[in-house]
């Protein structure tokens, strides 16, 4: 499966699976990160180890090293 953190800035895709530690997963899901939801990678700041995502009209930042458990649907 494709990883969210491998998206190219500007690209969007649907979330397939949210993994990771339970409280991290729960926080993300409650902020609307659910299977089937569209996310767009807005920018990557590698020296800060951060990703900026757009989801449900809001901008959420995750550490790139911690976003390894978010998987995307592979489209056709």
């Amino acid at each position: 499966m494709k990883l969210l953190r491998d998206l190219v800035p500007g690209q969007s895709a649907r979330l397939a699976h949210i993994g990771g530690d339970r409280s991290f997963r729960r926080r993300l899901m409650e902020m609307g990160f659910l299977p089937g939801t569209v996310v767009r990678l807005v920018r990557r700041v590698d020296i800060a180890d951060l990703l900026e995502l757009e989801i449900r009209g809001s901008r959420i930042s995750l550490r790139r090293s911690e976003a390894g458990s978010l998987f995307l649907e592979t489209e056709g």
Binding site: S23, L34, L50, S58, S61
Partner: protein, 747 residues
């Protein structure tokens, strides 16, 4: 969820209670400030260091209701004590009372996520009024809200507001009033309900385990609290107040679910979002034609972030902004600080002329007025820092600070937002400690508070200036680097490195905990509501004055007494007769005045040396002798506890130079250079001076800092820890410097 009623919590026979809830960055605080009267208060929740904002609202019928603004959060689910407050205040679990009405402030541009929390509150059966804020921003995007559809589907009153511009607040007020009179209109009666048979069975098992207070005959509420428990409880959470029976029931349900491959969290959360997502097209409608007919363009936030989050430009601008904040605390606040000091010095002299000479006069001048002065003197810096923080938070820039500094600060075990408080620590630790409130987790706040006092604050400068100027030659290294300037820079570097090192060590030992993954919202940039920022600045400052101020005042008075008592009448009589002799002599008036002033100074010096503080200075001499200090410096160290710069004037009194001495005083410098031990060796060598500076850099010689930490952590444990660890560190470092220096052959 303690059984006893906490202080400050009201009991029965009360005014109606309106709770204001919502996601962070929805303009909730602006709504709070716009709705409520002038009696707003910032305090802390019992037992935790979370700000509690309360005020009252007067409705048109003359009814007055209490308003409680709960901290912004994305959900009622909780993991930490801080997050638990949301469910406690909204569900009204003891010691909090059940609110009569909850107002959810939602951001129109992020409606689905904001509605998620509203559904959680609806599940509890609390009457709810929804204020969809920032409706103007949504319209600017070419979208409109269908309030009727929302009212119909949610079954509650919905108003649209633009709190920044004061729009929609009258309607909100009317809905609040109407709902307080008739709560039924804001209870949807189960329009939203999760209907999953498997989940229903799980929930029944948890409902049966709920304590009586949670399960008070209202099946909807019990069910909602069961869902909350299922989502929130974990093996390693901080929710100590949850009964063990509930914990056991949740654990067994989760275990069963795991066996069949079900994901309970996902089921609960997805069913809420599915309900919302199905209705979003009805709630928010896109206009056929955009107002300007243009295609969607990049938002202004995107363009600004392109610069402010840029790996190079972003950091440069951030450092520039921080430079301005630092400069303002360091120098712009200075005239105000001097004015405060001048005012209290004047008040002291006025009291002197009005009160007869004697103990009352000395107490009023040296204890009371100086004590109040030492609290008020913090006002300029605290107000300024809170003003900056208010603008940074309200504009959305604070989230960018966390973004930019996350990696660097994380390497030291600190939160990205710890940067602003730590930088402020270079000016003064007291406002810096108050600024740790911008971090959500107690662990991050306390850790930051434990290292801030190591930063070189401005009160250490007079001490360094005195020592460097007195003991080190104004010569240059390599012909161009001034020794004195290098030493000063060296002290700054030393304190910065020590603080970072201390953070690393503390975060890996005392503050060790699981790494918390970062989930950081970057809200759109918005114009701050200036009256709200100014009001919060004042409320926060006032709450500091009330709580830390009293501790500082008491400490100043105690310290004054230590350094003024006991006094022997024999001593006073001796100096009085000396003075009488001078008066009787035939010398000129000017000459007489000068000699009397010298006798006064000698008397002050004598009195200080024989005071309790003076005796304490002698008593601690064996402990500080290995650091190269004598008992006179010991007295100075005790005096410096009021504030580090007091060391200079205390030394002035000890050496009979007078208490209006400053660090540039040539007389004091000569006295210090001439001071010798009993065997004729000079007391103040460059090595002893260095040892003394190291001691000042590391020791927690500041009762106001300790009072501020006590105020923020609500316990004496942390200020005591801070004092002990910094004192031990200071002693050890000075010992190593002095004894090591001697061993290497320096004197």
């Amino acid at each position: 969820m303690t059984s006893s009623s906490a202080p400050g919590m009201r009991k029965s026979l009360r005014r109606p209670l309106v709770v204001l809830a919502g996601n962070p960055n929805t303009g909730k605080t602006t709504v709070f400030n716009r709705l409520t009267g002038s009696d707003a208060k910032v305090a802390n929740y019992p037992g935790v260091t979370v700000e509690r904002h309360t005020a009252t609202i007067e409705l048109s019928s003359g009814v007055v209701a209490d308003v409680l603004d709960v901290p912004g959060s994305y959900s009622l689910s909780a993991h930490s004590r801080e997050e638990e407050l949301a469910i406690q205040t909204i569900a009204g679990l003891a010691p909090f009372e059940v609110p009569d009405l909850v107002v959810v402030v939602a951001d129109a541009t992020q409606l689905s996520r904001n509605l998620y929390m509203s559904l959680q509150i609806l599940e509890l059966g609390v009457p709810l009024v929804l204020a969809v804020n920032m409706a103007d921003m949504l319209e600017a995007r070419g979208e409109v809200l269908d309030l009727d559809a929302m009212r119909r589907e949610l079954g509650i009153p919905v108003v649209s507001t633009a709190a920044l511009h004061g729009r929609g607040l009258d309607e909100l007020r009317k809905e609040i009033e109407a709902t307080l009179n008739d709560p039924g209109r804001a209870r949807p009666g189960g329009r939203w309900k999760s209907e999953d048979p498997a989940l229903d069975k799980d929930l029944r098992a948890v409902v049966d385990a709920l304590p009586a207070e949670w399960n008070s005959g209202d099946s909807g509420r019990a069910r909602a609290l069961a869902i909350w428990s299922l989502l929130s409880l974990e093996e390693k959470d901080e929710l100590d107040a949850v009964p063990s029976g509930v914990r056991a029931a949740v654990a067994s349900v989760r275990e069963q679910a795991a066996k069949t491959g079900r994901q309970v969290d996902l089921e609960i959360i997805r069913s809420r979002y599915a309900w919302i997502d199905a209705r979003m097209p009805a709630f928010v409608k896109r206009r056929e034609v955009r107002p300007d007919g243009s295609p969607a363009r990049k938002s202004s936030t995107d363009r600004v972030d392109g610069v402010l989050l840029h790996p190079v430009a972003g950091f440069a601008i951030f450092l520039l902004l921080m430079g301005i904040v630092f400069q303002s605390l360091f120098s712009w606040a200075d005239p105000a600080i001097r004015a405060v000091e001048g005012l209290f010095a004047w008040l002291g002299s006025v009291s002197k002329t009005w009160l007869p000479d004697g103990i009352v006069d000395e107490f009023v001048e040296g204890g009371l007025i100086a004590g109040v002065g030492s609290v008020v003197v913090f006002l300029p810096q605290i107000l300024l820092l809170f003003l900056f923080i208010g603008f940074m938070e309200d504009s959305g820039y604070m989230a960018r600070v966390a973004f930019l500094m996350d990696r660097i600060m994380r390497a030291m075990g600190l939160h990205g937002r710890a940067f602003v408080p730590m930088l402020s620590g270079y000016a003064c630790a007291v406002p810096a400690i108050l600024a740790t409130r911008t971090m959500e987790r107690q662990r991050d706040r306390t850790l930051t508070m434990m290292v801030i006092p190591l930063m070189t604050c401005s009160a250490r400068l007079p001490v360094y200036t005195l020592i460097i100027g007195t003991l080190f030659p104004p010569s240059r290294v390599f012909g161009f680097l001034p020794v004195q300037g290098l030493l000063m820079i060296g002290m700054y570097l030393f304190s910065t490195l020590t603080a970072l090192l201390a953070a690393m060590v503390l975060s890996k030992t005392l503050f060790k905990g699981p790494a918390v993954p970062l989930i950081l919202e970057l809200p759109p940039y918005r114009m701050p509501h200036v009256p709200s920022v100014v009001r919060m600045m004042w409320l926060r400052t006032r709450s500091f004055l009330e709580s830390a101020g009293t501790v500082i005042l008491v400490c100043t008075v105690v310290l004054w007494a230590l350094l003024s008592f006991p006094r022997s009448t024999g001593q006073t009589a001796r100096f009085d007769s000396d003075r009488a002799a001078v008066e009787a002599s035939g010398a000129s008036a000017a000459d007489r005045a000068e000699r009397i002033a010298a006798i006064d100074r000698a008397e002050d010096s004598e009195r200080l040396r024989s005071s309790y503080g003076g005796r304490l200075g002698r008593a601690i001499e064996p402990a500080i002798e290995p650091l190269g200090f004598d008992w006179k410096i010991g007295i100075g160290l005790i005096g410096a506890f009021a504030a580090r710069e007091v060391f200079v004037s205390t030394m002035g009194v000890v050496y009979g130079v007078g208490d209006e001495t400053d660090e540039e005083s040539a007389t004091l410098r000569e006295k210090i250079r001439a001071e010798t031990h009993a065997d004729g060796r000079p007391v103040y060598t460059p090595l002893a001076g260095l040892s003394l500076m190291i001691f000042f850099a590391l020791a927690c010689q500041c009762m106001s800092t300790l009072a501020a930490v006590r105020r923020e952590t609500k316990t004496w444990r942390w200020p005591i820890f801070l004092f002990v660890y910094m004192s031990v560190l200071a002693w050890l470092a000075s010992f190593v410097v002095y004894q090591g220096g001697r061993w290497l052959g320096f004197s």
